[in-house]
């Protein structure tokens, strides 16, 4: 009982402190808005890992808060505003759908810095950051074409948005660089995260004869199905090797930590400036999990491809590339600009699927 009376005193004290905001002075308060729970072991999990890395690296200099499972739409604006009002000076909003709410709240709080993931609207105090996940997809494509006996890979997509379409195309181009006749079958799960449905999709692909599965959904279910059916698969967002020790070839790991640390430091030392970055292997945002379950020559080829992409020598979207309908997209030697990549809404030749137009 005594404890609770003490608690009451502490509670009231805390409330009054919060009003004056006295104790936020020395630490930078950093807020995060998550689209899912940190326990999804996919997209949000990796952002949360980044947050933890930041806490570890900057120690006493920062204090972090996150709001999880914030729906896109009317709720997002309130959640972001609440973080800003609670004294957070740097706020990361980690899903595309938070774009307009972030910009709106940013107008009201000019002294707070905002960082929006995967969008395209910037402002004086709003930065945009995005990751070239497709670079990893290209490497996966190279591996898939080397490893597949039937020459067909299965691809489980979440939603047909540019990020996912980029991945499918880069995968296809990587595969075609090894085997020009390589085919990809696509199934849309219409969900980012539904283990049951993703497992069903993986099974359907296996039943249709593919012997490699890659996914752009967040759960580990497709990896488990691949393991059960004794074929190979690629992980997504995090290293899923635990779910397929003899199955995973590699995985694209979203590595946000370095970026989060860099931006928090920039706010602390006053050098923060709004920018729009699209970073990949070179800057360490896209990391490949160890190459496993493949012969040495394939591993070597994969490592070389990765090194070339990281050094900028190889750009996945480099001509000659034809679109799915047979028309020319990139002439020989021509590379796609970022705007085309960021709004990609068409397939390259060889993909066996149609996009909603």
């Amino acid at each position: 009982m005594k404890k609770y009376i003490l608690g009451l005193a502490a509670g009231l004290g805390l409330a009054s402190l919060a009003v004056t905001g006295a104790f936020a002075a020395d630490k930078l308060k950093v807020g995060f808005i998550y689209i899912g729970p940190p326990g999804d072991f996919g997209w949000t999990y990796q952002h949360d890992q980044g947050r933890k890395e930041m806490e570890k690296a900057l120690g006493d200099q920062v204090e972090t808060t996150f709001l999880e499972s914030v729906p896109e739409g009317a709720d997002a604006e309130r959640s972001i505003e609440r973080l800003a009002r609670a004294g957070h000076k740097l706020i990361f909003t980690t899903s595309f759908g938070y774009m307009d709410p972030t910009v709106k709240v940013a107008q009201k709080f000019p002294d707070v810095k905002f960082e929006h993931a995967t969008g395209y609207k910037t402002a004086e105090n709003v930065s945009v950051y995005n990751s070239r996940f497709y670079e990893g997809r290209y490497v996966q494509g190279v591996i898939a074409a080397k490893m597949s006996k039937v020459g067909v890979a299965g691809y489980i997509g979440s939603f047909p948005i540019p990020e996912v379409v980029q991945g499918i195309n880069a995968f296809m181009l990587g595969a075609q660089s090894v085997n020009p006749d390589f085919k990809v079958k696509v199934i849309w799960a219409n969900s980012w995260f539904d283990p049951g449905k993703e497992a069903d999709a993986a099974k359907a692909l296996v039943d249709q004869g593919v012997d490699i599965i890659t996914q752009h959904t967040d759960s580990t279910a497709p990896m488990q199905v691949a393991a059960e059916r004794k074929i190979k698969a690629f992980g997504q967002a995090s290293d899923m090797i635990k779910f397929g020790p003899e199955t995973q070839l590699t995985s694209i790991v979203d590595n946000w930590g370095p970026y989060y640390i860099e931006r928090a430091k920039a706010v602390i030392d006053g050098s923060w400036k709004s920018h729009n970055v699209f970073e990949g292997m070179k800057e360490g945002l896209v990391v490949m999990a160890p190459y496993t379950n493949m012969p040495d020559d394939v591993k070597k080829l994969a490592e070389e491809t990765q090194a070339k992409i990281a050094s900028g020598e190889l750009k996945p979207f480099t001509g000659p590339v034809k679109k799915q309908d047979g028309s020319d997209w990139l002439k020989a030697g021509e590379t796609a600009d970022d705007k085309t990549i960021l709004s990609m809404n068409f397939y390259v030749a060889g993909v066996d699927d149609k996009l909603p137009q």
Binding site: D40, N190, P195, A201, K203, E228, K242
Partner: protein, 305 residues
């Protein structure tokens, strides 16, 4: 070969729906509507996973899931039966609570590969082409689900207790007047429903996708509820409905993989539309449906003393 593989996939997809729906069917036959199936199912999934993970035995996980589902359903039972609260609202609250509590219990189990319940294998029989694996090579929960369908059908229509249960569902006041312990029957039915939902959850986290993640039931509890109505409260029709739903779900994925070019959203909505259409066809015969619908469904019972 492909046919059999698809059949197996459909069976795995249909089994959790079937089990949860069978449990709810018994509950509804007793005149109680428990909208908390999703909540009980996810509690079963998380407790089953946790127990299997800690002991290394999928069977212990299965038993834990059944107990968790049943225990959780008691909460609903106490409110809706003993305190005669509104069943619709209480069931919804149970779902809300289950989704939150399971996420909290499961926090430390995220990202762990789970224990898979192994499929059986009978030398000689499992290798029969086309149907061997379907009949003799699946996981134990599949066989439980089929046995459960038969058992529920037998219990409801061939035993005296089943007859009493249905009588309570049709008119609890007159059943009470005849000296039937209405609340005791209903408590047992609710417990059974909870146990089944828990088992269905275990199928998800031990067979379907051996892992734990938040919200992994993703609405399957609601589909199970719909199946009960779809089946007009008949066990074998629940089985047919679950497999139909499973078949359309898997079928649309195959259609997508073949690249037929219809927007995937339309394909994904097929299972729901198919359910509606079949239901309309079934329910056109008004007398037959009314005959099967428990008349006291969703109404609280308070004995006059």
């Amino acid at each position: 070969m492909m046919f059999e593989a698809i059949l197996l996939t459909v069976a795995t997809a249909a089994t959790p729906l079937l089990i949860a729906a069978l449990g709810e069917l018994v509950v509804e036959r007793s005149g109680v509507l428990n909208l908390g199936v999703e909540g009980m199912m996810i509690m079963g999934a998380v407790c089953g996973f946790a127990a299997a993970q800690m002991t290394g035995s999928a069977w212990i996980g299965l038993i834990a899931a059944i107990c968790a589902g049943a225990a959780f359903s008691l909460l609903f039972g106490f409110l809706s039966l003993t305190l005669a609260t509104n069943q619709y609202a209480t069931g919804l609250a149970l779902t809300l609570l289950g989704l939150g509590a399971s996420a909290m219990i499961g926090e430390s189990f995220v990202g762990m590969p789970g224990v898979r319940m192994q499929s059986i294998s009978i030398p000689g029989l499992t290798e029969i082409p086309f149907i061997g694996k379907f009949l003799f090579g699946q996981d134990p929960i599949f066989y439980i689900s089929i046995a459960l369908t038969a058992a529920v059908a037998w219990f409801l229509f061939r035993t005296k207790a089943g007859l009493t249960l249905r009588a309570i569902g049709d008119n609890h006041t007159s059943a009470h007047a005849l000296g039937v312990p209405v609340l005791r029957y209903r408590y047992l039915a609710v417990l059974f429903g909870g146990a089944c939902a828990g088992l269905a959850g275990a199928q998800l986290s031990l067979v379907y996708v051996p892992q734990w993640v938040e919200n992994m039931t993703s609405g399957r509890g609601w589909i199970a509820l719909a199946l009960v109505v779809f089946a007009s409260w008949r066990p074998w029709r629940v089985l047919a409905g679950a497999y139909l739903f499973g078949a359309v779900t898997i079928g649309q994925l195959h259609a997508q993989a073949l690249g037929i070019g219809i927007p995937s959203q339309f394909m994904s909505s097929l299972p729901y539309l198919a359910t509606i259409i079949v239901l309309v066809l079934i329910s056109r015969n008004k007398r037959l449906t009314l005959m099967n619908t428990p008349a006291s469904l969703g109404k609280a019972f308070v004995p006059d003393r």
